[in-house]
Symmetry: C2
Subunit: 376 residues, 2 copies
């Protein structure tokens, strides 16, 4: 299912085949939290942006419109008119970051919905059932995403519980995939490594979850407050204990530089709201660094956002026009900017893949890792 086509140092050029099509890795997953990309970007737009795989959020869709409704309507692919792979997260991260008054037990987590305050319970089995109702291509394990910093003992006992939850996720997913009425009987479960910045806990946890022989493994709980150096250190130490023949997904990361540095440490999958969120505020990624479209210096600038970019926005519109749209509070400003930034991220992944194939990833990394973060 996961085939490594080429390696260059620790960087891997792979191919992940699913019932919804094949994903070329390293890959950036485009985030459609509530079954839609922010910024009025449609599924048809996404294809024009080179998006291979979309990510949606279990927590949001469970609360609204509800996973049973989505199942009744034929599953998430049909609902949002997207026929390529979809990864759904487990809800864990949002339960621990958005929900109020949560209470954790061995069974799972009770919390108040951030939408209407109603009490909701979610444990490993509930998360699997919800994701099975979506029929997503890849389901993520239900885990506790511990805050950084947290006390060592708490992180250790939390990881032990997350491991027990993973065993329950695996059993439940196997059970759900055996039902005739299941939308995607080939749904894949990825395990999630936790452990905050405690490398020994991370390694111990990774060894245990690797033994469960899952189709993919994620590193979770990073980019939540630690420095980039701490994050890279964790990856340096832990990734070698993830199975070589399974894809590795660094959750919620990150900047263009984080992605390049993740690939350098053997990561294959990434996702982040940064390209969409930044775009909606006028922050644009280019091949030479970032620009802020609110800056007056772009008022009469007839160049595209990025002169070397082939995205629909750069092919058709000037910085002057997009700046005007932001100033006039026209929604089109956000859409054109989101399309550009998503194209940039998808294209970055494509350039990384090519660099690996051509054995010049280190050169690419040296040239781009800092440059792409430069404020122009």
């Amino acid at each position: 299912m996961f085939k490594i086509l080429h390696t260059n140092g620790r960087a891997r050029r792979g191919e992940f085949t699913t019932v919804h099509g094949t994903v070329q890795t390293p890959v950036f997953m485009n985030v459609g939290t509530a079954a839609a990309i922010k910024g009025a970007v449609s599924a048809e737009d996404l294809k024009a942006l080179g998006c291979q795989i979309e990510l949606s959020n279990t927590y949001h869709l469970h609360l609204r419109p509800g996973d049973e409704l989505i199942k009744d309507l034929g599953g998430l692919h049909k609902f949002m008119n997207w026929d390529r792979p979809i990864l759904t997260d487990s809800g864990g991260f949002q339960v621990f970051s958005l929900a109020k008054l949560r209470k954790i037990t061995e069974d799972g987590v009770s919390f108040n919905s951030h939408i209407d305050g109603r009490r909701v319970f979610m444990g490993p089995e509930e998360s699997m059932r919800i994701q099975s109702n979506f029929g997503s291509t890849i389901a993520m394990a239900f885990d506790e995403c511990v805050k950084i910093p947290s006390p060592y003992d708490y992180v250790k006992s939390s990881c032990d519980r997350t491991y027990r939850w993973l065993e329950r996720c695996k059993a439940e997913m196997t059970r759900l995939n055996s039902f005739d009425g299941t939308i995607n009987k080939n749904q894949l479960l990825f395990g999630i490594n936790q452990g905050a910045t405690f490398v020994d806990i991370r390694i111990d946890h990774m060894k245990k979850i690797a033994a469960l022989d899952l189709p993919g493994y994620a590193i979770g709980g990073l980019a939540v407050g630690e420095t980039h150096e701490e994050m890279y250190h964790v990856l340096d130490e832990v990734v070698p204990y993830a199975p070589d023949d399974r894809p590795r997904y660094l959750m919620g990361v990150g900047t263009p530089s984080n992605i390049i540095e993740g690939v350098a440490r053997g990561i294959d999958f990434f996702d982040c709201v940064m390209p969409t969120r930044n775009a909606r505020h006028g922050f644009i990624f280019t091949r030479h660094g970032t620009i802020n479209m609110m800056n007056q210096k772009y008022e009469r600038d007839l160049r595209p956002l990025d002169e070397e970019c082939g995205c629909p926005t750069c092919r058709n519109y000037s910085r002057a026009y997009i700046r005007h749209l932001f100033k006039a509070k026209e929604m089109l400003a956000m859409r054109l900017s989101v399309m550009h930034n998503l194209y940039f991220y998808n294209e970055l992944a494509a350039r990384i893949r090519k660099a690996i194939e051509e054995d010049r990833f280190e050169e690419f990394r040296a040239e781009n890792s800092e440059k792409l973060m430069k404020r122009l």
Copy 2:
């Protein structure tokens, strides 16, 4: 320039040729107030929606980003990446509806900008210079749009002044079109008939402006508070005095029914923010009447917005999905709905044109004029 291909009763099937292409009439003009369609609809989207001609607002663009900036950047067509005809209004309507503390003299109008409060003066010459800076295909005359109701004597003297302003507009437009640096030296000036609901003032004014031999004539100052019956009565009485061989434009109108009734009275051009504004609030036009996507009954409705519609939204998305997007406050809800409503209006004009060509416009009118307004 304007060629009538066929008539059916008072309804006219025409063709208006400009330097930016030919417009098939009757036509609905899609409103892009600040050089963009509301709802994140791009110029590329507009072409897929069958839009022949876009309308932009002089008042808004003069205040932000400024007409001189647009001229320096190559004109409005280049600025917003639209190569088909553009009509710009004169600013008069917004000066009289949006601006604060206005003061009218024979010269023109002083007012405070609704954006930053700064004092601005606009008269016939200023309006022509601004529109010449845009390089729009069709410029509208600078007029006073009088409130309904207004006293007879005020309306009469206002119309006399609007006539004198039109003479100044014509002279200034002729002068501007003769300059080498002018962006569109073939810019066309349309006159505007005023007179509130006083038919004798309307007719007198129309006769006088018709004598100025302009390339087109608009009926302005309607749909601003009077009943539909009063509006239709004015059209019944006044349109016969507009030159037969020039296009007639009913400004700011209206509902699908208003458009059909306008065509029945000899109108060729229409524009209205209704399709975009309604769409952004979930009000959708269909061939069987209007629907409100906030209604719970669409929660599990897998049908497209309009089962007989061929728009990009209806080809790809269900009512259930679009309702979810509105509930989740996703911008994509607005975009998909605006695209549908604009397609509906452009398609309505196409259906009207076909009905006239086939000598069955009265049948089309009887079948649709009320039905399209029915709340389903």
